[in-house]
């Protein structure tokens, strides 16, 4: 099966995720509304436990490198003006103390 559009692929993925990875839903990031943009951008491709699992030992520079890798290499469509808020959030709540 070939899904040509990004939207179609994401839609297919959501259906698949709902059926195959039902246990994923309990993952809630801390920080209330601040977490919204992170949940939106990161959970398109991977479950949010990746963030919790990789804590709390990454510095701000290391979290930024992760976000940039997701954009440049993994093709995540994250707008440039969202990078700083995402990195700030990750550093504050899941970064090295």
């Amino acid at each position: 099966m070939t899904i040509k559009t990004r939207f179609g692929s994401a839609l297919l993925f959501c259906i698949f995720a709902a059926s195959a990875f039902g246990g994923e839903s309990p993952i809630k990031l801390v920080g209330g509304a601040q977490a919204t943009v992170v949940q939106l951008r990161c959970s398109t491709c991977h479950s949010l436990d990746y963030i919790v699992m990789n804590s709390p030992f990454l510095t701000r520079a290391a979290w930024e490198a992760e976000v940039r890798k997701m954009m440049k290499i993994m093709g995540a469509p994250i707008p440039e003006d969202e990078v700083a808020p995402i990195v700030d959030y990750l550093t504050q709540h899941y970064g090295a103390n």
């Binding site: 099966m1 899904i3 040509k4 990004r6 692929s9 994401a10 297919l12 993925f13 698949f16 995720a17 990875f21 246990g23 994923e24 993952i27 398109t44 491709c45 991977h46 479950s47 436990d49 990746y50 963030i51 919790v52 699992m53 990789n54 804590s55 709390p56 030992f57 990454l58 290391a62 992760e66 290499i73 993994m74 093709g75 995540a76 469509p77 899941y94």
Partner: protein
């Protein structure tokens, strides 16, 4: 079987000992706190409960009790995927596409043809993730924070890759053989997970396109209906759900070859080289390192004074052969030889056991140190590297006699 609660309690016990200053620097061999907070025992369809590291892509490690027997059961075998969409494969419709610019002719194989046209080969081999034990890296590094269970040992059966390539007719100038699987990312913009082997390793008589694991079809999560098996080499090359095999006259250009799964040159005692992918400073990971695991003792476990202590575990390497396993109960000052179990072949886990005379009350570490026929011994200090690969430092498990 260990329950989630008892696992947490034992982990907490280990931390308590660390905080009391009783195990000193060993405290750094703990998983990150966030890893402990987010791990749960989860059951994928067809699997026993495994330790969930991430739901999507699914990354699940085998609890240490999975290694009680020398062969790891299929339903306890670890699960590791890079991309989130893992299709259910209809084996009747499945085809293995063989070709590439280094092949004289391309063709497709059905599963019936793969089984019928090529003489099967069968052996036991360890499949170990390059990042096994990354979670114990000191300092911690980014990635899937695996404990000790991103590995397994199985009896693999399949067609020799060299026989399949012979049918394709390889040109003289081939340098690598590349593999792609059926897995897909959530976004089309994410690079496909493709890997290559140097031609010489692909032509090794022990490199397989495997369709059986421990006498059964491969589990879906371990690459049904067929995967590449490269005994002695890191599991990053063991392509799951293999769909295409390409003979290449140029080195494969791919994030997964050129950037990921690479080591600083000269850092590890490695014999097998992958020269077509080497740069001035880094090289692709190749063979796995000498390593061992104590399987019947947990951090903080208590034993009764006046009783002999039974330790058991496994040792493995890239296929040079396990020469011996030594045990220390005095922080590495003295070592005694463990008794090796029967060999299941040079690529397999080798079991071992050791009986320690009764000891007085107190706390001390149990350590196991394996060596191989090349004379390579597990290091006393972690060979640190940024991606957290090849963690084979000697384990220290703090136990208590009461």
């Amino acid at each position: 079987m260990q329950t989630r609660r008892s696992f947490v309690r034992m982990a907490a016990g280990g931390i308590a000992l660390a905080e009391a200053g009783l195990i000193g620097s060993w405290a750094r061999a703990e998983l990150p706190q966030g890893t402990l907070d987010s791990e749960v025992r989860e059951t994928l369809p067809g699997k026993q409960p495994l330790i969930k590291r991430s739901f999507r892509p699914p990354n699940y490690e085998s609890p240490v009790d999975s290694f009680d027997d020398v062969l790891t059961p299929n339903d306890k075998f670890f699960v590791r995927w890079h991309l989130a969409n893992i299709p259910r494969i209809d084996v009747r419709a499945w085809r293995l596409n063989v070709g590439g610019d280094g092949a004289e002719r391309g063709f497709e194989l059905s599963m019936d043809q793969l089984k019928r046209d090529f003489e099967p080969a069968e052996f036991v081999a360890v499949c170990q993730c390059a990042g096994n034990r990354r979670g114990f890296s000191a300092p911690h590094v980014a990635g899937v924070e695996w404990g000790s269970g991103a590995m397994g040992n199985a009896r693999w059966k399949g067609a020799r890759l060299k026989d399949i390539l012979a049918r394709a007719g390889l040109k003289k100038e081939i340098v690598e053989i590349a593999f792609n699987g059926s897995d897909r990312a959530a976004l089309d913009s994410t690079p496909a997970f493709v890997k290559s082997l140097p031609a010489w390793k692909a032509m090794d008589e022990n490199t397989l396109v495997a369709y059986e694991m421990n006498g059964a079809a491969l589990p879906h999560w371990n690459g049904f209906p067929a995967r590449i098996v490269v005994p002695g080499w890191s599991a990053t090359y063991w392509m799951k759900q293999v769909a295409s095999i390409r003979a290449l006259v140029q080195p494969l250009a791919s994030f997964w070859m050129n950037t990921a799964y690479r080591l600083p040159i000269g850092k590890f005692p490695i014999i097998d080289r992958f020269t077509s992918q080497e740069s001035a400073t880094t090289t692709p990971i190749t063979e796995i390192l000498i390593n061992s695991l104590i399987t019947n003792v947990s951090a903080g476990q208590r034993f009764a004074a006046g009783q002999p202590l039974q330790f058991k575990g496994i040792a493995w390497d890239a296929g040079y052969g396990i020469r011996g396993v030594e045990i220390s109960v005095d922080d590495g000052r003295t070592w005694q030889s463990a008794t090796l179990g029967e060999s299941q072949g040079r690529y397999s886990f080798r079991t071992w056991q050791f009986t320690c005379p009764a000891r007085a009350a107190g706390r001390f570490p149990v350590m196991a140190r394996a060596s191989n026929a090349q004379g390579t011994v597990q290091p006393a200090e972690l060979i640190f590297n940024g991606p957290g690969y090849h963690n084979n430092v000697v384990q220290k498990i703090a136990i208590e006699i009461v």
